[in-house]
């Protein structure tokens, strides 16, 4: 034979289970990243610019005296650093992300491409009117979609997120109350509400009065009506609510609220359950923000940016903040000043500089045009169907406090099924991480103990849902059987084990500091 000395084993051998710490601290594809401040140095940059000298004559004696303290890195280092960091994140693109109330649905890439068209992405907000007609037309078209889908006559586009939209709605209500010469300072908020609701009410100068929930997870309409009075400015109600249930008495509640001279603010965080099927305007709602990053798929981006346009009823439309979009013979125009207001407009003020989250408007309209009205409705139905499928498939092994009837787009469980097992909601959630899932929303809403709120969205295939159900059933059965191995100290297979939040809060370290430098003086 002709002898070959290059032969190597091509069968895997036996896998060894025992953990062997690596020399590098990295583990295969699990790659660590130090801080840019630790890897950077002086004398290197990732951007090439000529070294232009400038005189001090036009700097008013305020030229920077010391260095900023930024590290220098080349482009390959920067790319490697942030690619490594990215790999320590879970993402919708990687797996099911069932965060209840957050609506982690698929983010179409067409939307990203459209938002980056130079005509949108590279358009200056104060460019002359003639240079921005396409942008204004796009906003107008999005406004048409939003008002049509909600059955409301008007929409304020500038709020930059859901909570900002809440603020916009309450400030419109405040203006309307004041225009009637009344003093109404109280806002009714159900105890199941998102934390932003009471925070926004306080932010807008109101006092907050909590309304209890009934044992079936709905707001106690009788208690709510009893609290109405001449000092109540509005109620803030989420519908479908944070338990994933539709508030069936909503029309009756709206009538009572209006009869008491108050306004009805709806938190539209869960509009994605009913879009294309139910129009909030038909329910008697006066103001509702729409999270474009939930219902209309603009990406969450690790926590923002979002967008929170607010649809307004006839009673509140006049108080919408500046700027206003109007059309005349010469095309579209933004009204940015009180002296140019159209008949009847009484804006309460301005929410932010410029005109809102244009980049998100493009993405949301791209989503809407893609779906069409039929696709929007189908998406809502699939979201509700998927949540109910999960509820039906898990309620025999987990505990669903309101599981007797159907849910909307999210299924709520509590920790009753874990009683006596020594496993907590937190342990259960962390064990899901080891199984390759992002945990559901936990400990919210506050009205049930150890809450687990699962929102699968319409973006999962049946196979994906079935796999998820199998895993959750497995975990639930093990927990109930007292097999705690998977839960104690989970997660094991994530980039980090559980983190010490107590230490982080007791001695906050909120920025990197060079070892040699003393702490900044107070």
């Amino acid at each position: 034979m002709s002898m070959n000395t290059q032969g190597r084993p091509s069968q895997p051998g036996t896998a060894q289970d025992n953990e062997l710490p690596t020399i590098s601290g990295d583990r295969g594809l699990d790659l660590e990243a130090r801080l840019i401040f630790e890897i950077g140095r002086s004398g290197v940059t990732g951007v090439d610019f000529p070294d232009v000298k400038v005189a001090d004559t036009r700097l008013g004696g305020l030229r920077r005296k010391g260095a900023v303290g930024l590290p220098g890195l080349s482009e390959p280092e920067v790319i490697r650093h942030y690619v490594r960091l990215s790999r320590q994140n879970y993402a919708i693109d990687a797996g099911l992300y069932p965060l209840g109330s957050c609506t982690m649905k698929h983010n179409p890439r067409l939307n990203e491409k459209m938002a980056r068209l130079p005509g949108f992405g590279d358009l200056h907000p104060l460019a002359p009117r003639a240079a921005t007609q396409g942008a204004l037309m796009l906003i107008s078209e999005l406004m048409t979609w939003l008002t049509t889908l909600t059955g409301m006559p008007a929409v304020a586009m500038s709020p930059k997120a859901g909570a900002h939209g809440e603020l916009c709605g309450l400030l419109a209500i405040r203006a309307a109350v004041e225009a009637r010469g009344e003093k109404r300072n109280r806002i009714l908020v159900p105890e199941s509400a998102h934390g932003t609701n009471p925070a926004t009410a306080a932010f807008a100068g109101f006092t907050v009065d909590e309304v209890p929930a009934k044992p079936d997870g709905r707001v106690d309409a009788a208690a709510l009506k009893a609290k109405l009075g001449p000092d109540v400015a509005a109620i803030m109600l989420t519908n479908p609510n944070t338990c994933g249930l539709f508030e069936g008495e909503i029309v009756e509640i709206a009538k009572a609220v209006h009869a008491a001279g108050a306004y009805f603010y709806c938190d539209g965080a869960n509009f994605n359950a009913i879009a294309g099927r139910v129009r909030p305007g038909d329910l008697g709602i006066d103001a509702m923000h729409i999270n474009l990053h939930k219902t209309f798929s603009t990406p969450h981006g690790g926590g923002g940016p979002g967008a929170g346009p607010v649809v307004l009823s006839e009673r509140l439309a006049a108080y919408a903040p500046l700027p206003l979009l109007v059309a005349d013979a010469a095309g579209f125009r933004l009204i940015e000043d009180r002296d140019e207001l159209p008949e009847g407009a009484k804006p309460f003020g301005r929410m932010c500089a410029f005109h809102g989250q244009m980049g998100m408007f493009v993405r949301a309209l791209s989503y809407m045009l893609s779906h069409g009205r039929d696709g929007v409705r189908q998406a809502s139905e699939d979201a509700v169907l998927s949540a109910n499928y999960i509820l039906a498939s898990l309620k025999d092994v987990m505990s669903a406090p309101f599981g007797d009837g159907p849910c909307m787009h999210e299924a709520l469980f509590d920790d009753t099924f874990l009683e006596g097992s020594g496993v907590t909601t937190l342990d259960f959630a962390k064990a899901m991480i080891d199984e390759g899932y992002h945990p559901m929303t936990m400990y919210f809403p506050l009205v049930v103990h150890g809450a687990m709120l699962i929102e699968p969205t319409e973006s999962e295939s049946k196979e994906s849902l079935d796999r998820f159900i199998t895993v959750l059933r497995g975990l639930a059965l093990e927990a109930k059987a007292g097999k705690r191995e998977r839960f104690d100290g989970a997660p094991r297979y994530a980039p980090r084990r559980r983190l010490d939040e107590t230490a982080a809060a007791r001695k906050p370290v909120l920025r990197w500091k060079p070892d040699a430098l003393p702490q900044a003086a107070e």
């Binding site: 840019i36 890195l73 993402a91 698929h106 037309m137 049509t148 306080a202 932010c352 039906a392």
Partner: protein, 448 residues
Amino acid sequence: MRYLPLTPDDRRAMLAKIGAPDIDALFRDVPREAVVPLSAFDLSETKGELEVERALSKLAARNVAAGAVPSFCGAGAYKHHVPSAVDHLIQRSEFLTSYTPYQPEIAQGTLQVLFEFQTQVALLTGMDVANASLYDGSTATAEAVLMAQRLTRRPKAILSGGLHPHYAETVETVANLSGVVTRTPVTPGIAEDIAALIDNETACVVVQSPDVFGLIRNLRPIAEAAHAKGALLIAVVTEAVSLGLLESPGAQGADIVACEGQSIGNGLNFGGPYVGLFAAREKFLRQMPGRLCGETADAAGKRGYVLTLSTREQHIRREKATSNICTNSGLCALAFTIHLSLLGEEGLARLARINHAKASALADRLSRIAGVELVTPVFFNEFTLKLPKRAAPVVDALAAKGVLGGVPASRLMPHEAKAENLLIVAATETNTDDDFAAFEAALKEVLA
């Protein structure tokens, strides 16, 4: 519909498992009369990607992108070159399609970025601590004023006339509920004597530098005057690149800094989304709005990061929270951090110098035109010209000649008679000598 994975068979099987006869049964809690047929919505039906792209591209084509023509618009939003690496990295699925890092074990990527971001912002502004960002510069300014009212338990906020009017209106909208906001008169090209207005009821003075006309303000005497009366100085910056050349607000004595971060890493986007930088002295930490990321260790002793001091925030403190904000501007903050990492100390310094040099050269060139006068003697990359006629029609005429020649001051302050002829002009590293020549020629023609 290409984004919906369920097939009709899947749907039937799932309904069977649920025990519901049809989808309507799942909506049984919705009052019958509230359910509307599809025909109630006068909207289009499902469209393919190609059709949507065509429709939106048509709209985009009706706009004049800043990069398509000589462009000199600023006034709170600036055209800068964003390195290719930035957009590539922020489109990584793991950054783009993740949520707020509520589960730190699987969100270290986002969290470490925020820690780096907070450090960069603190360094750049010369402050002790920075948060994980707010919506934009204007809302950050409003939050700063509310924070000052809480800290001092005083009602009055004095806004400099040089503060961007959109910022001032944003502040007034919320801070008049909890106090009293006053504005000093507009004095283009001159620093007003704001120090004299500070009294014992004053929570804060808010001063922008460079101001809306581009004028660089000396914050030091204002900080001293404010502190002497127990008030705080809030410094506002709308052009973050200026911090590469100018002394930081922190070094000049500011207590809180609110800054628009769009210039670094983020496109113009017709006004949003942008990223609000928010920094303060450490002693004010507990009254800061927004998210904070902190360093800690995991159970195995590895360094890691978590959201911290959350008891300030709405999801825990509800009506007693320091703000109702529930997000940050995550992806825009990421773009900021990556761009600033690429720039580094030397890159930022050079970029800032180029911006100043360009603006300086353009100011010289344009102020030589007959009847045109430079109003702002000291500036960074933006200056104001006084024209011999109203600026708004001049800008429209320039646009007709293919030049986006800045922002007429009257667009931002239509009630100021003295602003009528003022034109706010920005120049950045993106402008070439050809752009300058085109602007000069067009302006000469329009003014002739």
